[in-house]
Symmetry: C2
Subunit: 371 residues, 2 copies
């Protein structure tokens, strides 16, 4: 009995057509040709996708589970996406909703190499949520970003990350920026005694990112950010495997394909090695519901084979006043990320505002939480 | 006056809210923080996105053009996507519809290195459309795929490509498959006299793909296929720049983000160096309209700065009977790709069926075309 993974789709269809529609997807996501033209018995039995269940959701949509052969994946994260949703992503009436993977595939990808516990060790924080802010706006020089990083780090944050828009632009080239910001954060950490870390944002292809990691390593950096929906999930997977000394935080930019569940994206990023995953918190600049956010947090932290837990990093229009509510919702196994709201403070108050964020997280009563 | 590019969105909104919604997107896709907290005059004038026009489409949707600073892009294709749609992709009420780029950005990316004329030269075909078929199903051994490749190539095709599902699986590892199929196609070409080319499908990250290109080059292969929505557009861009001897054909798998126009995707793939772009033809297995397909073909071929034309490759459930109609629609500056329908022929008839496809393309009267 060859190993299979289960891809779960939601399909808009009428009841008469759903059986045929499900079969068509099972074929598209496996042999991608008329089954009648497949001559090999072993391919018919071991490779062609199999519809394993169809359930009517009652609103014109059906839940359809399709069993796909694990052997079609090989070892590649990109190929997993390709077989899960590749050509079917071109249809407007199908959502990729969830996936169930056999243990061998979990082990092959391996998930976070540091995860929640590794990020906690970096922050020397066992009994509270982690804290993070972001360097922006786009357009500042490396020195100006380093000044901001210094002020934020003086506030005692665990992490200060690049905005995901900072790439390798002429006004703050990657290497200049990373050296300046890393130095500023080291200087502030020496003053505060907190082990604040600077997280640079990586961009480009695998080869370019490897060079960026060289600069980062040279500056003593051990935690970085990557946007897998742009860089490619194979790039994330390859970097995680080749650079086990780094922890990787994912950014969700460009992952808003309307027809892949954001909950699934978070889960896949964990599978491919994300130690923490940023996502838009409910009630901020984005429209995710609290239910969606709760599910994302669960998928990142819940037991999954032997994979380590990843850290949920809710973000996107958050502010210090929301800290108690966010901590009630997510509990201590989370990292809070507040960017623009801190940066809106007058520059001379930035370190103090940041410190009040850090204090709110440190002094929160973690006795109760919602998810 | 700093250089700007224009991102065109469609936004669902009521008329009262559209001005504010457009401004919010202009900020999200540039500085991503409250403008009131941006202190530098040069960033306010040169970096913050500017709403350049808003037009009511009359159906609850608005066309909104936003001018984004070219300097935020740097040289990276991924960063272009990030600034065009990154965080805004997470909103359900916005579609990225089109983009207008300044000549300096066109030149920086460079577009196809071989394009329509380069692929014509490879095929020694000036006055007709190009022909292609695909090796499948998934699950066949390298030797079985090579047998198919031999039969298809005996039919006199210009190109025989891997199915996009063929990656680096245990049943047909990349290197074994590519050497076997390349050899089979060479053998057939020596018999027919046609310069038939085998196009392997690349997968994984930039480093892995560079190794795959090494194998391909060693086999005399000069045309390859890549799926940029999985590999990452920066990977495509980097490969095109580093390996100018190869022509690149893009595959659309995973590019079905409902809220990026497929017409735009084809255009961007050309920008980043695709010599040809596969897309689902109307009336096949996918729901694209003939209008969408016509626009994709236009965007690939129309004059655009100094960029070479790319080749439209309509595919997805095509068959030989549709050849005349497809050629009337697309004209000769296209490559027809028929996979499963040829492979459905009894094995002993495969070369003859393929030859009838090749003949239909060669003997078509190209006097008239629709797009």
């Amino acid at each position: 009995m060859p190993s299979r993974l289960i891809a779960s789709y939601r399909i808009r269809s009428d009841a008469k057509a759903i059986d045929e529609r499900a079969r068509t997807i099972a074929i598209e996501q496996s042999v991608e040709m008329p089954v009648s033209a497949v001559r090999e018995a072993s391919i018919l039995s071991d490779i062609v996708g199999q519809v394993s269940s169809i359930a009517d959701r009652g609103d014109g949509w059906f839940d359809v589970d399709i069993a796909l052969a694990t052997s079609t994946i090989g070892d590649d994260a990109g190929q997993l996406l390709n077989m899960l949703f590749g050509n079917t992503s071109l249809h407007e009436d199908v959502i990729l909703h969830d996936v169930a993977l056999p243990d061998e595939l979990l082990a092959r990808f391996g998930g976070p190499r540091h995860g929640l516990q590794g990020l906690r060790r970096r922050a020397r924080a066992e009994n509270r949520a982690l804290t993070c802010s972001a360097l922006k706006p786009q357009g500042l020089s490396a020195d100006a970003l380093a000044e901001l990083a210094f002020a934020l780090a003086q506030g005692g944050l665990d992490f200060v990350k690049d905005d995901h828009g900072l790439a390798d632009q002429s006004y703050s080239p990657f290497e200049t920026r990373v050296r300046a910001c890393a130095g500023a954060v080291r200087k502030a950490a020496a003053i505060t005694g907190a082990p604040t870390r600077y997280i640079p944002s990586l961009s480009g292809h695998f080869g370019q990112i490897e060079r960026q990691l060289g600069v980062a390593r040279d500056e003593g950096i051990d935690t970085v950010m990557i946007a897998p929906a742009i860089a490619g999930v194979s790039t994330l997977q390859g970097l995680v495997a080749a650079h086990p000394d780094f922890a990787f935080i994912t950014h969700p930019t460009m992952s808003g394909a309307a027809r892949v569940s954001p909950v699934l994206f978070a889960r896949l990023f964990r599978l491919f090695g994300a130690d923490g995953a940023i996502f838009p918190n409910h009630g901020g600049r984005f429209g995710y519901s609290s239910q969606t956010c709760g599910q994302i947090a669960s998928r990142l932290r819940e037991p999954w084979g032997d994979l380590q837990a990843g850290v949920p990093v809710p973000a996107g229009g958050m502010n210090v006043r929301r800290v108690p509510e966010m901590l009630r919702f997510y509990g201590k196994d989370a990292m809070l990320l507040i960017g623009g709201a801190l940066l809106s403070a007058p520059r001379e108050n930035l370190a103090a505002e940041t410190a009040s964020f850090v204090r709110a997280v440190a002094e929160h009563d973690y006795g109760e939480k919602d998810v």
